[in-house]
């Protein structure tokens, strides 16, 4: 499976409070959450994001609160994959559990720039920056996580 889109790039320690501020957590509605995604660090994100776009960030992406609303807001805003140097562990787990693909790849997180067009092959873990022509090798998911993603989330995978 492949996805491709335009990159929205951020820095280190992007926390879940800026991904979706707590003042909007009085709802679990995916579209409403998406309408405030990244609001406190990038007010333009919701206007410029298109279906299939890719988010790239540096270290410790998604640190802070366990709110699943954060990966939900990112996924519902149309983002098809998040690439970072490292992810905070609860965010990593939540993303897999709701079926938002995320890949740790320090080289890609460093090399890819805002606005680049990027393609990701989930089967091989290969990330291609079509703007610069560079490729990067991300870690493909282990089998049990592939199973969760293929079944579109943990609960679907539990149903067998």
């Amino acid at each position: 499976m492949k996805v491709s889109g335009k990159v929205h790039k951020y820095g280190d320690n992007v926390d879940t409070d800026v991904i979706i501020p707590a003042r909007y957590l009085n709802t679990a509605d995916h579209k409403e959450l998406a309408s405030h995604c990244m609001e406190d660090i990038d007010t333009e994100f919701v206007n410029k994001v298109r279906d299939g776009d890719i988010m790239v960030a540096k270290s410790n992406f998604g640190c802070g609160s366990s709110r699943e609303h954060a990966p939900i807001a990112i996924k519902a805003s149309g983002i098809s994959c998040v690439i970072a140097k490292t992810f905070a562990r609860i965010f990593y787990r939540n993303s897999i559990n709701i079926g938002l693909p995320i890949i740790e790849c320090p080289e890609a997180a460093e090399g890819i720039q805002d606005g680049d067009n990027v393609e990701i092959d989930f089967d091989t873990g290969i990330i291609t920056d079509k703007t610069t022509g560079k490729t990067y090798q991300g870690n493909p998911f282990p089998e049990f996580i592939k199973n969760i993603i293929n079944k579109n989330g943990l609960l679907n995978s539990l149903k067998g």
Binding site: N13, D15, D17, V18, P21, A22, R23, L25, N26, T27, A28, D40, I41, S59, N60, C63, G64, S65, S66, R67, E68, H69, P71, I72, T86, A88, R89, I90, R93, N94, N97, I98, F144, G153, L154, L155, N156, L158, K159
Partner: protein
């Protein structure tokens, strides 16, 4: 090869003799927790998956604390959804306005978590219960839904960092200063995916409140969990609270640690974490005049009785500075009542503080003390991210109840020795 405390708890709950860092395991859960923000997402998933019941009605806790007492119609609707779910499935540990408290202060107080337990909670500060010698970690709502249905969760067994604690704390220094110092030292991702294991002969000089506060903020170093060796202080704390039997675990002598840090409590000074990351820890020789608009004393980090006593010790007979709003929030009904009986609430109110019923409220910028653009707060809470307590251009400074109370009196970030 030997196992750490965390690894032993996980091995026991996975039914395995031995686990090592990196192993993927399926573990049995002793408690599954959610609050009024994370539970509705879990309930939606639970219903969508078509589960017909919960795995054990005594091993699920739902606490209405974040936007409760309901701050608006949407918050009220979310609490109602939790209430209806708990009624439908006869979930016994449902805590609503009137008997609720901030979840991570409430569960240990009620004896719902115990040494050696394996606990997940849809709240990142679930790591608090490591103070009791439990493996306890924050997860998302989907994990909570699966946990409520199956009583199990998958984990990757974490590698460990060891914190060897020696010495004893100086006056007006608390567990909060210790953990802010540690996060300042290793960074907000210094313990990423790992467990933080606290042991050593200085542990006996840390109260249960100190330990709960320190374990609470393990997540702010990126840790999967924090865990304290069980000792007489732990056993004394659980004796009057926990009725079930429990087994606790000690680390093997040959357990493997990725790093060992020696922390001498006697060296720790009052510490403040500057915006916008908990790792921006400074001591007072690095802090100039920083004027403030608000002080918040409370939360799952520092809303326990010892924290209330610390704040009252500083505020007794003094007044909150003109132009500063000081909000005190005892974390549970029991702490609230005890604060009243001990005369602490009178001290707070005489000093000009607002005292509130338990709620997470301002800590996450929900309600009960939101900051305007450009305002600054000293808070005993756990996060100082951009916009955490209100406007994206407001600022939160993390500190102990001693420092927060002293700052309320002077109107700028201050240590207790400046006014005592």
């Amino acid at each position: 090869m030997g196992m750490t405390m965390t690894q032993k708890v996980l091995a026991a709950h996975a039914g395995q003799e031995c686990v090592k860092a990196g192993d993927l395991i399926m573990a049995r859960l002793d408690m599954v927790l959610g609050n009024d923000i994370t539970s509705p997402v879990a309930i939606n998933e639970f219903d969508k998956a078509g589960f017909s019941g919960v795995f054990d009605k005594t091993k699920i806790s739902m606490v209405m604390d974040h936007f409760a007492p309901n701050k608006d119609i949407k918050a009220a609707t979310q609490c109602k959804q939790c209430r209806d779910f708990c009624n439908k499935y006869d979930v016994l540990n449902f805590y609503d306005v009137g008997d609720m408290g901030v979840e991570h202060a409430l569960l240990p107080e009620k004896g719902l978590v115990k040494p050696g337990d394996c606990v997940i909670g849809a709240d990142s500060h679930t790591c608090t219960y490591g103070a009791l010698g439990a493996f306890s970690t924050g997860v998302g709502s989907t994990d909570m839904a699966a946990g409520m249905a199956t009583g199990k969760a998958w984990f990757k067994v974490p590698a460990a960092l060891k914190f060897n604690i020696t010495g004893s704390l100086n006056k007006y220094v608390s567990g909060k200063d210790v953990i802010l110092h540690i996060i300042g030292m290793i960074g907000v991702d210094g313990a990423l995916y790992k467990s933080m294991e606290f042991m050593g002969d200085g542990l006996k000089n840390l109260t249960m409140e100190d330990r709960l506060c320190m374990a609470n903020m393990a997540i702010e170093a990126g840790a999967k969990n924090g865990i304290f060796a069980v000792d007489d202080v732990t056993l004394e704390y659980v004796k009057e609270r926990v009725t079930d039997e429990f087994t606790y675990y000690t680390a093997d002598d040959d357990a493997e640690y990725e790093a060992v840090y020696d922390i001498n409590l006697s060296d720790i000074k009052p510490t403040v974490s500057f915006p916008h990351l908990p790792e921006n820890a400074k001591t007072f020789d690095e802090i100039g005049d920083v004027n403030i608009d608000q002080v918040v004393i409370g939360s799952c980090t520092n809303g326990r009785i010892e924290d209330m006593r610390a704040a009252a010790e500083i505020l007794k007979g003094k007044k909150v500075a003109k132009g500063v709003r000081c909000i005190v929030i005892p974390a549970t009904q029991k702490v609230y009542l005890q604060s009243m009986e001990e005369g602490l609430l009178k001290i707070f109110i005489d000093a000009g503080c607002a005292v509130s019923t338990p709620t997470c409220g301002p800590c996450l910028g929900g309600h009960m003390g939101i900051l305007a653009k450009g305002e600054r707060a000293v808070a005993t809470t756990n996060r100082n991210f951009v916009g955490r307590m209100g406007h994206p251009e407001s600022e939160v400074y993390l500190a102990s109840p001693y420092v927060a109370a002293a700052s309320a009196v002077t109107g700028k970030i201050s240590q207790p020795s400046e006014i005592m």
